[in-house]
């Protein structure tokens, strides 16, 4: 799909984010990858109950967009955005506890895999019904607007999700009330096995923006700085009261939909093309070229990441199984 407006390549860019922000993004991209790689191992060891999804290759979208938020902002992520959860305060231990269905996970074993969140940390837990978070994200932004708070809600969804009525109604509601919502489309070219031409006949998803009277921008979803720049602009715009922006981030889902999916329906050539464009490797290369990622910093970060994963997993394994006697508890809040 041809993009409406490719964001300028980094070299052409005047300024760039400060080094600590650059390293923060890299750190969370690496952390997502490290957790998910460990998760895949656990999955094949049969230790993760149910389906297991990864955001392999999507790390630049989650990290680049989330890095544009301020401390009081809110997120409504989906199932490929682990970095977003981590950057907003979900711990590595909680993530593994969620994977392992333990009491220590955000849903305490009630829901599985990445179906988690924590409203107290400003993270809306998504439900399986695709795009159901979009109108809810609009409502979170509505509350901010009603109370005169200058907070922004960042929400993520897939290419398949754009076909749902929930997505349409939620985006339209946010647009009509000019709510502070940033709409990040993770166009990874597939919805499970379904290719783009079964989701839309449009030239590009970003073309949908005009129908809602909001700006739309398409960026390379494997270029974390392109994502970050677009998101930062959209966040600023939302905070100024100018309403939502649609950001189409283009990537490819380079693994199966879930680990149970052998994804033979994805052309080999396409996989190779995108495998060669790994967002983490590309970012590392760039940061080295800029002298931001020296050998020592790199080394320290890798050690820390590996340590966090092992400590987190240990924490999760130490977390108890939920008490079956409590199965019926918590359906209702007590007055």
């Amino acid at each position: 799909m041809k993009s409406k407006r490719e964001s300028p390549r980094i070299e052409e860019r005047a300024g760039r984010p400060p080094s600590d922000r650059l390293l923060e993004m890299l750190y969370y991209m690496r952390l997502q990858r490290a957790i998910e790689d460990r998760g895949v191992k656990l999955y094949y060891q049969g230790r993760i109950p149910g389906a297991y999804f990864t955001g392999w290759g999507h790390e630049a979208i989650a990290a680049g967009a989330t890095a544009s938020l301020g401390p009081d902002d809110l997120v409504a992520p989906m199932h490929r955005d682990l970095a977003a959860y981590l950057m907003r305060g979900i711990t590595v231990g909680e993530v593994f506890a969620q994977f392992l269905d333990r009491e220590g996970g955000p849903t305490r074993g009630r829901d599985g895999n990445i179906h988690m969140g924590d409203p107290q940390r400003g993270i809306l837990p998504f439900i399986s019904h695709m795009a159901a978070s979009v109108p809810v994200a609009a409502g979170m932004a509505l509350a901010c607007r009603q109370r005169g708070e200058s907070r922004v809600v960042l929400t993520f969804f897939g290419d398949g999700a754009t076909s749902t009525g929930a997505w349409h109604e939620g985006v339209n509601f946010a647009a009509v009330f000019r709510l502070p919502v940033v709409l990040v489309l993770e166009n990874n070219q597939y919805a499970f096995s379904t290719p783009l031409d079964r989701q839309t006949a449009a030239q590009a998803f970003v073309d949908k923006a005009v129908g809602y009277g909001i700006p739309g921008v398409a960026v390379d979803g494997n270029d974390v700085l392109a994502v970050h720049e677009a998101a930062a602009a959209a966040v600023a715009r939302a905070r100024d009261g100018a309403g939502p922006t649609l950001i189409e981030c283009r990537t490819l889902r380079v693994r199966g939909h879930s680990e149970a999916d052998k994804f033979s329906y994805v052309p080999k050539a396409l996989l190779e093309e995108w495998a060669a464009r790994d967002p983490i490797a590309a970012f590392e290369e760039r940061l080295r070229a800029w002298g931001v990622l020296g050998a020592e910093i790199d080394e320290t970060m890798q050690v820390r990441t590996a340590q966090e994963v092992e400590d987190g997993l240990a924490w999760a394994e130490a977390s108890p199984e939920p008490d079956p006697a409590a199965v019926a508890d918590g359906v209702y809040a007590e007055e």
Binding site: P135, V136, A138, E335
Partner: protein, 324 residues
Amino acid sequence: MAQLTYLEAIREGLRGEMRRDPRVFVLGEDIGVYGGAFKITEGFLDEFGPWRVIDAPLAETANVGAGIGAAVMGMRPVVEMQFADFVTDAFTQVVNMAAKYHWRTRMPLPLVLRMPYGGDVKGGPFHSQCMEAWFAHTPGLKVVAPAFAEDAKGLLVAAIRDPNPVMYFEHKHLYRFRREEVPEGDYATPIGRARLVREGTALSVISYGWMLHKCLEAAGLAAADGIAPEVLDLRTLAPLDRDAILGSVRKTGKALIVHEASRTGGIGGEIAALIAEEAFESLDGPVVRLASEDSPVPHNTGLEAAFQPTVAEIADAMRRLAAY
């Protein structure tokens, strides 16, 4: 005590909560400038302004979803369905997003959905439905359905203050049914408690909403024949007031359940099952249900009259059961 219609009582309860608590706001189609299809929120826009009285797009999933999002942030939204029938366009938000929210997060979700429901308004199959049973079968939701103006106000206040999503079923036929005594000021009718409307010994008549009034009328006819029916107004459908239901049936030994929703799969089944399991030893007769036909709601007046239980049918059922 003021003399108010059921509709005025809803308005008073809603306005009172909006005055008391700045977190409370209303959102729905045509509720602001127009004051709502049934004029419940008439004058609200002027009093509370456009960010607390929100004229929304024609989009139930967006409107309910927005309400959920605001509730997540600690607001207390009251979202109006123009007719309860249209909630099917927001079903995922209600039964999956809202209903399961506290169970997954242990955080409150104080959302009220106002559901103008029921027949006798010449609305036909898409403006008359009674779908309370769908929601009573959805753990995480509370369901209330007042029959009297006093409870219409008190239960709406309670629903707004409740930390859970509450489906508030307001019966369109009762809006302008008559004037009743309604206490002034600030009170809440507890959710989950039935009301004993008429004491009796011969049988327990269990109903709610419009049919409750038909039951009272029928009880008058039965009384004329020397039968003393006890009439229980459930008021809340989820959670059911088990003690009130079982207590009454254990006393009278007989149960007649009446509702406007179609018979098969309606709330009446749950109530009858509760009685047949927990009050079996007290039963002196079959548990009888009277409900509307298993069909959509017809538009034609004669058809709709035939569709619903009539006062005469209810009175006959009382006589038959009493004589059993």
